[in-house]
């Protein structure tokens, strides 16, 4: 069993590039060149330097004593929240902006849900002096206001997506339409392991720095580079992809992915794609998605803008279908509780997305010496308004 893409960009039955002809030349150019460009020594050196000096990598691997005690396991947190701009998203945008420069693009577009990818894109565009447009659902513009202000301060133009449920799916549609209209000068920096080949693999490779560091950090701290479990939340799946990348072929490392259940899986207001979804095509990729029997895409719901997506990356669809990864879900309430718990006992306020990955600690059973790594994908500054609204102690 291989968990990697084949030459046509498929993970098992999932993936591929189901794109209109208008996108063909851009996608084909990426498909043919991304490995060579990003694998060159010059590219790697520039990427590594920016990762170290600009992003602040390596991110710490922190042994969380209080959480460990509470759940009866050895719990480590991979601190992607400490990266510049506050989440793992910057790992990918650094890679893609260097790629865009390499292929001579002068205009960048991106979609964003929680605004973390939008901020990370606006940041690298400011750094490189490149024009930046970020599409964001009108609903998300309201619920992630601080990130909208940050993007604007960084010089990006934020364009509201007003179709559908006005969330991440719709922002992605608008970004793809923009790319169709501007094929020559524009590169589209997709923010997760979704979209047509080569995006899922390319984004996973840029994010793979997370598990690359985990290996030597775990080795130094525990004597063994392999943990027993890796936990991560999944919207499209990029932080999870990065956290598991170098462990995928290591069957002793169990993978637990968490989707957003919204108000409950059967409530009609959910984003638990792998439970509620079926095989179909979304944003140019064959994967699991939430849809009607007639193939219309269903509007998802989650309190967390970054997980409020009706699909899942093709890599994860394959990991779940093949049984390599276990999938869990957490409701809005469970995620909020997990966020408050982590804040109080470890002094770390996580992003709402990230909190979903912590909520499953309550649903899993561990042996006392199990080593568990949770990917702490982002910090919670952007979610303060939501937290204040729901935290009894704050009120």
């Amino acid at each position: 069993m291989t968990y990697n893409i084949n030459t046509k960009g498929f993970y098992g039955q999932f993936g591929g590039a189901f794109i209109p002809e208008m996108l063909h030349s851009n996608i084909e150019r990426l498909q043919k060149n991304y490995r060579e460009i990003t694998g060159s020594p010059a590219f790697k050196a520039e990427f590594d330097n920016l990762m170290r000096d600009y992003v602040g990598r390596p991110s710490p691997l922190y042994f969380a004593p209080n959480l460990s005690k509470l759940y009866g396991a050895q719990i480590y947190l991979k601190r992607e929240d400490l990266n510049h701009t506050g989440s793992h998203k910057i790992n990918n945008t650094i890679g893609q902006i260097l790629l865009a420069k390499h292929i001579g693009k002068t205009r960048i577009i991106a979609e964003t849900g929680a605004g973390q990818h939008g901020v990370a894109t606006a940041t690298v565009c400011a750094l490189m002096g490149i024009e930046c447009l970020v599409y964001m659902g009108a609903t998300d513009i309201k619920r992630q206001a601080p990130n909208v202000s940050r993007m604007k301060m960084l010089g990006a133009k934020v364009i509201p997506a007003t179709s559908g449920s006005q969330t991440l799916k719709d922002a992605t549609n608008e970004a793809i339409r923009d790319w169709i209209n501007n094929p020559v000068d524009t590169h589209y920096i997709i923010g997760s392991v979704v979209g047509p080949h080569p995006y899922p693999d390319m984004v996973a490779r840029f994010q793979s720095v997370i598990s690359e560091e985990m290996k030597w950090q775990l080795k130094a701290q525990t004597g063994n580079e392999n943990p027993d479990y890796i936990l991560a939340c999944v919207g499209g799946g990029s932080n999870a992809a990065g956290a598991i990348y170098h462990y995928i072929d290591e069957p002793s490392v169990k993978i637990a992915l968490t989707e957003a259940a919204g108000k409950g899986i059967d409530s009609g207001h959910s984003a638990a794609t792998s439970v509620l979804g079926s095989v179909g095509i979304i944003h140019g990729s064959k994967t699991m998605l939430m849809q009607t029997p007639d193939g219309q895409i269903v509007e998802p719901y989650s309190i967390s803008a970054g997980l409020d997506y009706p699909g899942i990356g093709p890599m994860h669809a394959h990991l779940i279908e093949s049984g390599r990864a276990q999938v869990y879900s957490a409701t809005d309430t469970e995620a909020l509780d997990a966020a408050f718990e982590l804040s109080r006992i470890e002094g770390i306020i996580p992003a709402l997305e990230t909190a979903h990955g912590f909520a499953v600690l309550k649903k899993m059973t561990f042996k006392p010496d199990d080593v568990v790594v949770i990917n702490l994908s982002g910090r919670g500054d952007k979610d303060l308004a939501t937290y204040i609204q729901h935290d009894p102690n704050v009120q």
Binding site: G16, E21, I180, N181, G280, G284, P293, I297
Partner: protein, 253 residues
């Protein structure tokens, strides 16, 4: 001979293909709209299967699709309407929609149903040629469904030849790399691209679409192709309460 072959044999120039969204403006309006279009002189009907997330479409077709879906439009209803249309006209009908719709219906069931409903072919913008050849071409042939592939100003000469070879309905010449719905005129760059295509001496009849919206742009497109496709402009006309007959007259009257 399929209905496209028959049409292009009789009429090699100024072929008018009009797009309309099934179930728009009302669920029951499809049959009347289409038959009025063909009675007024439209040669081909491109019948839109409304989709929740039409990536290649601009706001006009997005909105008409939303209205149609809210009206209760489904593929089942669409096939029934196509059947009713077929009793009244021999004009070729080509469905336009997205691959996920066909996949969820079941590819073979979909193609078989299309054939039984008198449909002549499909336009599926997100079905790439290589996947068509690998997974779908044999089924399209089995159920006598034509296909029209898109070429754009960014398409290489090699791919244009491939699209020419594979397209069995017509070749869809996208006038400009754009989503649907544009309404500026055709500029010199676009005309140069049409001319290049003309000089390639392609075998499949060429229909030019995207941005064709009035008599002037239709006439210009017809100088370079066998005809043209008008979509969003007709939907806007319907949205304002205009009749299919008046619209066709404004283009070829």
């Amino acid at each position: 001979m399929n209905r496209f072959d028959i049409l292009f044999k009789q009429k090699a120039a100024r072929v008018l293909n009009i797009y309309t969204t099934a179930g728009y403006p009302t669920l029951e309006s499809t049959v009347d709209t289409v038959t009025a279009l063909t009675a007024a002189g439209a040669d081909i009907i491109e019948l839109g299967m409304p989709y929740s997330d039409p990536l290649a479409d601009g706001t006009t077709i997005q909105e008409s699709s939303q209205v149609a879906l809210a009206n209760g439009m489904t593929l089942e209803t669409l096939f029934a309407q196509a059947n009713a249309i077929r009793t009244q006209t021999d004009a070729p009908i080509i469905l336009m929609g997205y691959l996920n719709q066909m996949l969820q219906y079941g590819t073979e069931a979909f193609l078989s149903q299309a054939q039984q409903s008198g449909i002549d072919g499909l336009i599926i913008p997100d079905l790439p040629m290589d996947i068509y050849v690998e997974d779908y071409e044999a089924l399209f042939k089995q159920y006598e469904q034509g296909i029209a592939f898109l070429v754009t100003p960014e398409t290489s000469a090699e791919r244009i030849r491939e699209a020419d070879r594979l397209s069995t309905a017509f070749l869809y010449i996208v006038s400009k790399s754009n989503i649907t719905g544009g309404s500026s005129g055709l500029d010199d760059g676009q005309l140069a691209y049409f001319k290049t295509l003309e000089e390639m001496n392609l075998e499949t009849p060429k229909l030019i679409g995207f941005g064709i919206h009035d008599k002037v742009t239709f006439d210009t497109a017809c100088q370079y192709g066998n005809g043209a496709i008008i979509g969003s402009a007709f939907i806007r006309h319907l949205g304002k309460g205009g009749s299919p007959k008046d619209f066709v007259s404004s283009i070829i009257g």
